[in-house]
């Protein structure tokens, strides 16, 4: 069962004179859980931004379901959900309003309006916030008044509420304590069945720094200076691989 979901063909990204991504080739198959390793500044965030279509590569092609990104309409690109390293929440809105923003795409203008006026039903948002261990007391708190870990989980809830099958997550475990990390990891990699229905398994690419969290992933990709150094099954990961990228 090797149907490719996302594919990068010979991707390079140049910013001013710096080559930030250098001729990257990558295939992500349905259901794969991939960990993306690399030291700080190696290009993980940039790679994720290319994968979700926020950054247009200088060279090369991005394909989603074997179709070139250029030809895909925005609706199809939006099948990908992203947890950003810098979260990108709307600071002035409350936690639940931000989580609801994840639903803007599948709803009309009236929903956005109701969300801002607090007259929409927040049931779905509350469900996902509960899953992320966020308590009632912070539902209507503004983002700028939350702790680092709470903000992190609001961003995660906003991503989960999209119930998307393709997840890109950029260091999603930042600011979380060990117990929360375990809970969140299970949610992201769908080791718990949120909707109690059987669906096709989630495809996930997660950038992370913690090597002790690798055991739920199928594959590990190592990146350094904008180049992929290895792309292997997790079981094959050796110390020598890590020495190359760190």
């Amino acid at each position: 069962m090797n149907n490719t979901v996302l594919e990068l063909e010979n991707i390079s990204y140049k910013y001013k004179n710096d080559l930030i991504l250098n001729k990257i080739n990558l295939k992500i198959n349905a259901g794969e859980k991939i960990a993306l390793l690399g030291k700080s500044g190696s290009g993980k965030t940039t790679l994720i931004s290319v994968l979700n279509g926020t950054i247009k590569p200088t060279q090369g092609e991005v394909k989603l379901f074997n179709e070139s990104f250029e030809e895909l309409d925005r609706k199809q690109k939006s099948k990908i959900t992203t947890i950003w390293q810098d979260l990108r929440l709307i600071e002035d809105l409350s936690a639940e309003q931000n989580v609801n923003c994840g639903l803007l795409a599948e709803n009309n203008f009236y929903f956005a309006f109701k969300n801002l006026l607090n007259i929409s039903s927040f049931k779905k948002a509350h469900k996902y916030m509960k899953l992320c261990r966020l308590h009632n007391s912070i539902y209507d708190k503004k983002i700028r008044k939350l702790s680092g870990g709470q903000k992190q989980r609001v961003a995660i809830a906003r991503s989960l509420i999209q119930e998307s099958n393709i997840l890109l997550a950029d260091e999603p475990f930042n600011n979380l304590d060990p117990k929360l990390i375990k809970t969140i990891k299970n949610l992201l990699l769908e080791n718990v069945d949120v909707n109690k229905t059987k669906k096709s398994p989630k495809t996930a690419l997660v950038a992370l720094h913690r090597l002790d969290l690798l055991n739920d992933f199928d594959k590990v990709i190592g990146i350094r200076d904008g180049k992929i150094f290895f792309n292997i099954k997790r079981d094959n990961l050796k110390k020598i691989h890590l020495e190359k990228i760190y």
């Binding site: 994840g102 801002l116 006026l117 607090n118």
Partner: protein, 500 residues
């Protein structure tokens, strides 16, 4: 003594040097003919006329003022927000509109804003005759443009990345726009929009001086007939109106979680938009423009305004702005610093309040009782009125400032004035100057008012050209005004940037 160092503190005091040429001209122009009038003017402040008749007039006139002030405020704040949105970066990013349109709309708003509401008012009056709604329209035109600038500035602070995150999941554009701008808009309305009501009441009063109606018209008429006791009845009732509206507005807090209130505001929003549009159309089609028959009259009317005269008028206007700005910047810290004790402070505060309360033209007319009309006198009136405004800000900031440095310096035996200067004011100087830079934008526009009344500069020419229906001259004067104001705004923008 040390050499004078240029820092923010000394820069706040330096502009007082304008008093040298100013004082020279004023002293040369002094006359004692009107001294008794001036005395009467002052005494009447404590003895305003109060009887049934005048109270009825006051109520009627105040109603008109509130009506014009309130509606022009409401319309200008709502359309200001709308124009603010469509002249903000984020709008162009979300809808992918070429930046070209962004520059055009910004330029257009800058021009509209550069012309004072009084100028709009007298032009519209000349075209349509005196009419109640002209007051509202004349205030709305520049106010919409001013408000839109403030809204747009606040919207520029939105983090582009939070837009990217919504955009990536393909949210509908209007939903993204609304979610992103919602809070900046509400905050700006709270912090800036409410205060604009006071501005629009003041503008209504000034337009009233030119005959539009409301309390301003009564103030002007009573001054003309030298009925100072009546004059003060009107002025004090205006003071009460301004103080009360300020107190009420301070109480208003927007609770966006209150559904009924939110729905009420949304309803007001849409009704205002609908009503303004339909009223505007009604106004255009139901008012014959008596004196402005066609655009072609712009080109037909000949102008006998020579280039040299014209340049002289521009120069006068610029000097007028500079002199008034000098007074508005330096007078408040100087007076507050010199008379630095509690009883003087109260006196200064009352005086500053009066300077804010009394419209600039009335200040000018009062000063004319013992001084011949001159550029300096016009500058003094405009400068004093604005000093009333800058000193309010300075007082507020000084009062809320941490006083430990000041107390420490005093306890070291440093004199009270020096401690005030180095321990208190020096920490305020930078933000005070930044505010003054913003204020001088306004002063440049307000030169029109004193110009018209005091026969100075472009304001005078505008009046002349209007009364002889020389539309071409009017256009030239407006372009000149606009250019001065725009150049001023650019320079002040640079100054503000270097101060923040």
């Amino acid at each position: 003594m040390n050499k004078l160092k240029l820092n923010y503190t000394s820069l706040s005091f330096l502009p007082i040097l304008v008093c040298i040429p100013l004082g020279y001209q004023l002293i040369n122009n002094i006359h004692f003919g009107g001294f008794r009038l001036f005395q009467e003017f002052l005494i009447s402040a404590f003895n305003p006329k109060i009887d049934n008749e005048i109270i009825i007039t006051v109520i009627k006139r105040l109603n008109e003022t509130i009506l014009i002030g309130f509606f022009s405020w409401l319309v200008s704040i709502i359309f200001g927000a709308i124009f603010g949105i469509i002249s903000s970066n984020i709008f162009y990013k979300i809808f992918n509109i070429p930046n070209f349109f962004y520059s055009i709309i910004r330029f257009f708003l800058t021009i509209i804003r550069s012309i004072h509401e009084v100028v709009w008012g007298i032009i519209l009056m000349q075209i349509y005759g005196i009419n109640f709604s002209i007051g509202i329209i004349a205030i709305c035109i520049p106010y919409i443009a001013v408000n839109s600038k403030v809204f747009a500035e606040q919207l520029e602070t939105i983090d582009y990345k939070s837009f990217e995150s919504i955009n990536q999941i393909n949210a509908p554009k209007f939903s993204s726009l609304l979610s992103l701008i919602w809070h900046p808009i509400i905050n700006t309305f709270q912090n800036f929009g409410l205060y604009r009501l006071e501005c629009s009441i003041r503008s209504t009063v000034i337009l009233g001086l030119f005959g539009i109606g409301g309390i301003g018209t009564s103030i002007f008429l009573s001054f003309q007939t030298l009925s100072f006791r009546e004059l003060w009845t009107y002025l004090w009732s205006l003071a009460i109106l301004i103080i009360f509206s300020g107190l009420i507005l301070k109480k208003i807090k927007f609770n966006t979680t209150n559904k009924i209130l939110s729905i009420f505001f949304i309803a007001v929003f849409f009704i205002t938009i609908l009503f303004s549009f339909s009223y505007f159309l009604y106004f255009i089609f139901n008012n014959n423009s008596e004196n402005f028959n066609s655009v072609s009259s712009l080109f037909k009317s000949s102008s006998d305004l020579g280039l040299f005269d014209f340049l002289k008028l521009i120069l006068e206007t610029i000097i007028l702005s500079l002199l008034s700005t000098g007074i508005a910047i330096s007078l408040p810290p100087l007076v507050i610093g010199i008379f630095n004790n509690n009883s003087s402070k109260i006196f200064i505060k009352i005086f500053a309040f009066l300077l804010r309360l009394i419209p600039t033209p009335v200040i000018l007319l009062t000063l004319l009782t013992f001084n011949n009309p001159s550029l300096s006198l016009a500058a003094l009136s405009l400068g004093l009125h604005n000093a009333g405004i800058t000193s309010k800000l300075l007082f507020t900031n000084l009062d809320s400032q941490d006083k430990r440095n000041y107390i420490a310096m005093k306890s070291l035996g440093i004199s009270k004035k020096t401690s005030w200067l180095l321990g208190l004011f020096s920490q305020q100087a930078k933000s005070y100057l930044a505010y003054c830079a913003y204020r001088s934008d306004i002063i440049i526009r307000e030169t029109a008012i004193v110009g018209i009344i005091g026969s100075i500069g472009l304001g005078w020419q505008l009046q002349e050209s209007l009364s002889s229906f020389a539309w071409q001259e009017v256009t030239i004067v407006l372009i000149a005004y606009s250019s001065i104001a725009i150049v001023g705004e650019l320079i002040n923008g640079k100054i503000k940037n270097s101060l923040t």
